[in-house]
């Protein structure tokens, strides 16, 4: 494996050295080359400028329309180029002169490699070329329209920051940097996607994040050979452990405060250009049930919310299966009164419970999917129609029984308590459901045992997936089903953080409790 990677790196660097093309002294020749590269691309702009007079100057500014800040080009580049009085003794044939004395742009750099220039132009920089100079100036003029920072729709909070990541990588990095003002916060850049050349950034806190995890992540990212990365989902699927598992082993979030919190717990984040979702590794089962708001709210309330989420998870995967098996196999388990009322409700319903439940479940999923894809205005109509038609009308038309509508509704609502797990939950629910339709509660229990075996065998970047959930040590369960008060959370999670686990020093008298 190492050999493989080594070979790859080696061959890549070899290619690069072969392809380096020097900037020619003649502007005409350079232009020819560039025009050939950007053939048929009409967004590229070659802005010619020509200063005549006693000190003539002929050059070109090359940039891509829409990728650059045109105001900056006008004010900070073109104006000084044209207006700066040139003395005969000015070293106008030396790019150093232009870089140091004339340009007002913030990031300016020299380059002799034409290929580098091309890459820079593509990513929104501007190239300045002057006739007779075998060097070009790279001016950072990136300025494209991007969405402003807004609250993430999927992860709204009542208490907590209302900022969310945007599609711009640098803005996203700044959002995290602002929260962790420490030089130990490191960002490493990489380019992924052979065609898209998407910039990604690995972010971690040095000294907290374990080196093994960072190294493992780097290695997995380097092995990606795909042509394009359009969203973090690509990376997530390419690097995740247990690729066939329906459960996530790589986390994603749109909230900078969540990322900051995870970085502080020794996790590593992956930012990707062009998507507001940031990945975090390792990702554990309990993180499904953690919300950033838990850490801001009173710990009793937060623990209650956590508990509700676990219950919701249990309900949403189990209610149809348990209902089916009790009603069709284990009727002796129902209290007599309930049995009679279920029996009365089912009187006249033509379908067996199995089919009834499947149909209702399917209809619910249809409504959900329709609600997600539809514009907001129509979405409401759809949900009202769905609720009315499915709830009231179907029951009074004796197509389904009322208890079935209740179980379906309960199942459906509970599935949104842990929204990130939705896909896995629907799958599990179906599996449990079919198992119970064959064997009753035995089948359900087999399913549960199978689920636990699976969950306990999964690892995320070497960390056991069910970490701390099976622990009886108090220090371990402080951030699982309960959220212990901050004055008790003295240590960072074990295993993820190997060294430097102390979160707060309990020795100091006013903090210890």
């Amino acid at each position: 494996m190492f050999k493989n990677i080594f070979n790859k790196l080696f061959s890549a660097s070899e290619k690069r050295s072969v392809q380096e093309i020097q900037v020619n002294k003649s502007l005409k020749k350079n232009l020819e080359h560039l025009k050939q590269v950007f053939q048929n691309d009409q967004t590229i702009i070659f802005r010619e400028f020509n200063r005549s007079g006693e000190i003539p100057l002929w050059g070109y500014l090359i940039f891509i329309d829409g990728m650059v800040d045109s105001k900056m080009i006008n004010e900070d580049i073109l104006r000084p180029l044209m207006k700066t009085p040139l003395q005969p003794e000015s070293r106008r044939k030396d790019m150093e002169f232009w870089k140091e004395k004339v340009m007002i742009a913030g990031e300016v750099r020299l380059s002799k490699d034409l290929n580098e220039l091309i890459g820079a132009v593509i990513s929104g920089d501007t190239v300045l070329m002057i006739d007779g100079v075998s060097e070009a100036l790279l001016l950072s003029t990136k300025g494209w329209a991007s969405r402003s920072i807004s609250e993430p729709e999927a992860e709204k909070v009542v208490r907590g920051p209302k900022e969310g990541f945007t599609e711009s990588l640098l803005v996203n990095l700044s959002l995290v940097r602002r929260r962790i003002s420490n030089s130990k916060l490191k960002f490493e850049f990489m380019e992924l996607g052979k065609i898209t050349k998407t910039r990604i950034s690995i972010c971690y806190i040095e000294g907290i994040a374990s080196k093994e995890i960072i190294e493992e992540l780097r290695q997995r990212l380097e092995e990606i050979e795909i042509d394009g990365i359009l969203e973090t989902g690509y990376i997530e699927e390419l690097i995740k452990d247990s690729p066939m598992s329906p459960f996530q082993t790589v986390g994603d979030t749109e909230r900078p405060d969540t990322v900051a919190g995870k970085l502080l717990e020794g996790r590593v984040a992956i930012f990707t250009e062009g998507t507001p979702l940031v990945l975090t590794v390792p990702y554990l089962f309990m993180e499904y049930f953690q919300a950033s708001e838990d850490y801001y709210n009173n710990f009793f309330y937060a623990s209650l919310n956590r508990f509700v989420r676990y219950i919701g998870f249990f309900f949403t995967i189990s209610v149809p299966a348990i209902y089916l098996s009790i009603v069709t196999y284990h009727k002796e388990m129902i209290p007599t009164e309930l049995l009679l009322s279920i029996s009365a409700a089912r009187e006249g319903v033509p379908f067996p419970t199995l089919l009834e439940s499947l149909i209702m479940g399917l209809v619910f999923e249809i409504l959900r999917e329709a609600g997600v894809r539809m514009p907001t205005a129509i979405g409401q109509t759809a949900s009202i129609v769905g609720a009315l038609v499915l709830g009231e009308a179907a029951v009074s038309a004796k197509l389904v029984s009322a208890p079935m509508v209740i179980t379906t509704a309960l199942t459906g609502i509970c599935s949104f308590l842990v929204p990130r797990m939705l896909g896995a939950v629907i799958m599990l629910r179906l599996v449990f459901f079919f198992l119970s339709s064959i064997l009753g509660l035995y089948g359900y229990i087999f399913g549960v045992i199978g689920l636990f075996i699976h969950l306990f065998s999964v690892r995320s970047f070497g960390i056991p997936y069910m970490l701390n959930l099976s622990s009886l040590q108090f220090q371990d369960v402080k951030d699982t089903i309960i959220r212990a008060p901050w004055w008790l959370q003295n240590l960072r999670p074990k295993k993820i953080v190997r060294k430097n686990r102390t979160r707060q020093d309990t020795e100091s008298p006013d903090k210890g409790r």
């Binding site: 009603v327 069709t328 002796e332 007599t336 009679l340 029996s343 009365a344 409700a345 009753g440």
Partner: protein, 384 residues
């Protein structure tokens, strides 16, 4: 090739699941829910089984219960039950049956044949309540005209559930009966149910008397007045009331409410022979005082306690004597108590226990402590 085999195997296994047909799978409304069962002597065959089926009917959101009675004769209980499908069209579901009423006639012959199936069958709960019908047949109990609930069996079940607040009725579950039949030195007692005419001349059932068994056979009845004494000895008389008349040489009556009751039965071996000592410790409250005498002072309370103790002791002793004389049955489980406390003595008397029991001297001692007097210190004052 290997891959194709795997795919075939997977498909076959999938089909296997689909074809099993799930032997136990049955929709809830495919079953007739049996609420209670009555067992009588049959006319042509040996038994006549009557089941009461709770049939829920829904019209829109209204759910009404309908009690459906179905009878079937058969030479065995099971035969009759299975043949019932011919009448019901639904397989009967027994797990929610609450009562089993057995006619006096069958009980006199012996309970074993009718209980065997029910005890053996996994579907019937062994905590089903047993009842003996004092009427001619058992099935007519289900056919009474008036009751709190449409399904009569469930009403009977409710009576037993609430009975602990009255302490004059005791439920006898099937496991209980079968257990006591099997123990040496004990005999089961089963509550009896009878039909009475109500104020507006409608039939209604009532549970008050109790049937005394010797072994598996019914040998006689005890009246409702006897139940408290019997239950005291069993340690079940926990919430009852004790009315005492003519207190302190007056015409007044008091009613004492039991707060806590504890009983100990000790067999004592003396030179004259075996003897049973029954101590009953009661903590009571004064619940009712329908006269003008104020008994709430130290002197009178002690007197009242004493009076109540004597009274209860007298009644209890009379009752035990009567049972000993009339019935060849150890309903007080004296034998069992003896076996547990003095096993070596039990070994000696085991064989002719019933003979000894008839003459067994019993010493009853009540220890009453009046603790409270409710919300009032004095009787209601009436100006003459």
């Amino acid at each position: 090739m290997k891959k194709r085999q795997y795919i075939c195997l997977c498909m076959l296994m999938g089909i296997l699941f689909a074809l099993t047909g799930c032997w136990d799978y049955a929709e809830i409304n495919e079953n007739g829910i049996v609420a209670g069962v009555a067992i009588d002597k049959g006319k042509e065959k040996k038994y006549e089984i009557t089941v009461e089926i709770a049939n829920p009917m829904s019209e829109g959101t209204n759910v009404t219960m309908q009690s459906v009675l179905i009878s079937m004769e058969g030479n065995t209980v099971f035969e009759a039950i299975r043949d019932m499908i011919a009448k019901t069209g639904k397989k009967l579901y027994w797990s929610h049956a609450t009562v089993m009423i057995i006619s006096e006639e069958i009980a006199k012959e012996g309970m074993r044949p009718v209980l065997d199936l029910v005890y053996r069958d996994p579907e019937v709960r062994i905590d089903i309540n047993l009842l003996i019908s004092r009427e001619k047949t058992a099935k007519e109990i289900f056919a009474v005209e008036q009751g709190m609930r449409e399904i009569r069996s469930y009403q009977l079940g409710d009576i037993f559930t609430a009975s602990s607040k009255m302490s004059k009725i005791f439920p006898t579950k099937m496991w209980h009966f079968i257990g006591y039949v099997g123990f040496e030195g004990s005999s089961p007692v089963v509550p009896g149910v009878e039909i009475i005419r109500d104020g507006d001349n409608k039939k209604q059932f009532q549970i008050f008397s109790s049937a005394v068994f010797s072994g598996q056979k019914l040998i006689g009845w005890l009246s409702a007045e006897d139940n408290p004494y019997m239950m005291w000895i069993w340690g079940l008389y926990e919430n009852g009331v004790i009315p005492i008349e003519n207190i302190l040489q007056s015409d007044d009556e008091v009613t004492l409410e039991i707060i806590h009751s504890k009983e100990t039965i000790t067999p004592i071996e003396t030179a004259e022979g075996l003897m049973m000592k029954i101590d009953i410790f009661l903590r009571v409250a004064l619940a009712e005082l329908n006269g003008s005498i104020n008994v709430i002072n130290d002197h009178d309370v002690a007197k009242l306690q004493n009076e109540a103790e004597r009274e209860l002791e007298r009644k209890m002793t009379t009752f035990i004597r009567r049972v000993q004389k009339e019935y060849d049955s150890d309903i007080f489980d004296f034998g069992l108590t003896l076996k547990r406390t003095l096993p070596e003595v039990w070994k000696k008397v085991e064989d002719d226990w019933l003979v000894i029991l008839e003459k067994l001297p019993v010493d009853v001692n009540f220890h009453i402590h009046i603790e409270r007097s409710g919300m009032m210190m004095k009787p209601i004052k009436v100006e003459e």
